[in-house]
Symmetry: C2
Subunit: 253 residues, 2 copies
């Protein structure tokens, strides 16, 4: 099997850490990457602090195939991601003529294109723009780092425009079933399945919904044959035990 591509997300935003804003981008990116067969391996949420952003970027860059950032690319004083990325890569920040065109097309030329708004056309030297189909101001790619907006609709639009630029691998598929019992009675069969098949990961997710205790057992693999074999084995085991179960994933815990 070819090398599995791995990614990391750095969420930049005081507003997430203070609790003002609930992040909506982590889950979206996780599923977007999953569809492309790329594993999201790490997420960091950090404050609007240039030193922290630079340090985090430089810790994550060598570890993963793709690094994404969200947040901090607007026109105000708290938007410091572009400057931080430039410092992390040791390059100056420049006004990109193509980015100026993108802004002008969306919001009109002078006087709409004020000095403040032009800040959104400043990117690290050597970066490639990422089209923003929603509000004009582009993101940018610098090496293996992809800098996206924090507003979910804009972040999602930028990911759309990256579809062809990001590689892909074999997606992980999953099969799941759930039952209304504690997970502990089934710990041994889950563990033995995970040990039996190399490609498999088996998750047990207890949940309390409407006052009922239950659990989903989720089998994940890039190998269809092993996935189905393991799933059939789990079902047979539960049938032998006369355990009532339902196919599908009970949902989020």
């Amino acid at each position: 099997m070819s090398k599995i591509l791995k990614a990391c997300l750095i969420v930049i935003g005081d507003e997430i850490l203070s609790g003002r804003t609930k992040d909506a981008n982590i889950n979206y990116l996780a599923l977007w990457l999953g569809d492309k067969g790329i594993d999201l391996k790490e997420v960091r949420i950090i404050p609007d602090d240039e030193d922290v952003i630079v340090e985090t970027i430089n810790q994550c860059r060598p570890k993963w195939d793709y690094i994404f950032t969200t947040g901090g690319i607007g026109p105000t004083h708290d938007d410091i991601t572009a400057a931080s990325v430039a410092r992390a890569f040791g390059v100056p920040i420049i006004q990109d003529p193509e980015a100026v065109q993108m802004l002008a097309k969306k919001i009109g030329g002078s006087p709409h294109l004020s000095e403040t708004r032009l800040k959104m056309a400043e990117v690290p030297q050597g970066s490639h723009l990422i089209i923003n189909p929603i509000s004009g101001a582009p993101g940018f790619q610098m090496g293996n780092l992809y800098t996206l907006a924090g507003i979910p609709a804009v972040m999602q639009g930028m990911l759309d425009s990256l579809q062809e630029r990001i590689g892909s691998g074999v997606p992980v598929k999953s099969k799941a079933l759930y039952l209304f019992e504690g997970e502990s009675n089934y710990a041994h069969i889950l563990e033995s399945l995970e040990n039996k098949y190399d490609s498999l990961s088996v998750g047990s997710y207890p949940a309390i919904m409407d006052g009922k205790v239950g659990a989903s057992f989720v089998i994940r693999s890039r190998n269809d044959k092993e996935l189905l074999a393991a799933y059939d084995e789990l079902k047979s085991y539960l049938q032998d035990q006369k355990t009532k179960f339902f196919e599908g994933d009970w949902g989020e815990v």
Copy 2:
């Protein structure tokens, strides 16, 4: 002013990184800490991988006053947080008699208290239990590390029982207003306010809601006097500019 207490959260869970589950604990903990005047400074989301958990814990421990973890403390093979914490602290894992009592009280003694279930009574040697008022199986505190369940209702119940054990400081207060215009026209006044008052942080959060573009300006401070002075200054500025604005926070972006 006394030292500001700072915290970090480590979310342990393949299911968050794969996108199966949307995390609900980050925002809850951020607000819970905020009420106590503790700043959440960093969040990491990492996989169910013992080496990664150990390394992450040992990176975060010396940096912050409080480290919280969520997830991975159940009875199945993928619940490896207790073993990982023990390894990070270099202590053995032991069966805690008090934890056994807590489990027995909730689920009954033998045969209910199976070997698998007793795994939930295993904690690192030297740790202090954290009561779980929902489902019995306790969390544990080891030094400045607080290990909580991943199920939101259980995690929240454990935080309730930690109320008296976690210190507190001066909470950050905030004042906010919003307007239906792009944020860029106000970048200079926001920046000048942040620069004028030492204790202040000023955030500008653009949003698109029901197709309208707008922004919330949020002023945050531990100093009530500076907070109100800055907020009044911002309102006066907008009134002078004849800008229509609304008091309060427009909400999440």
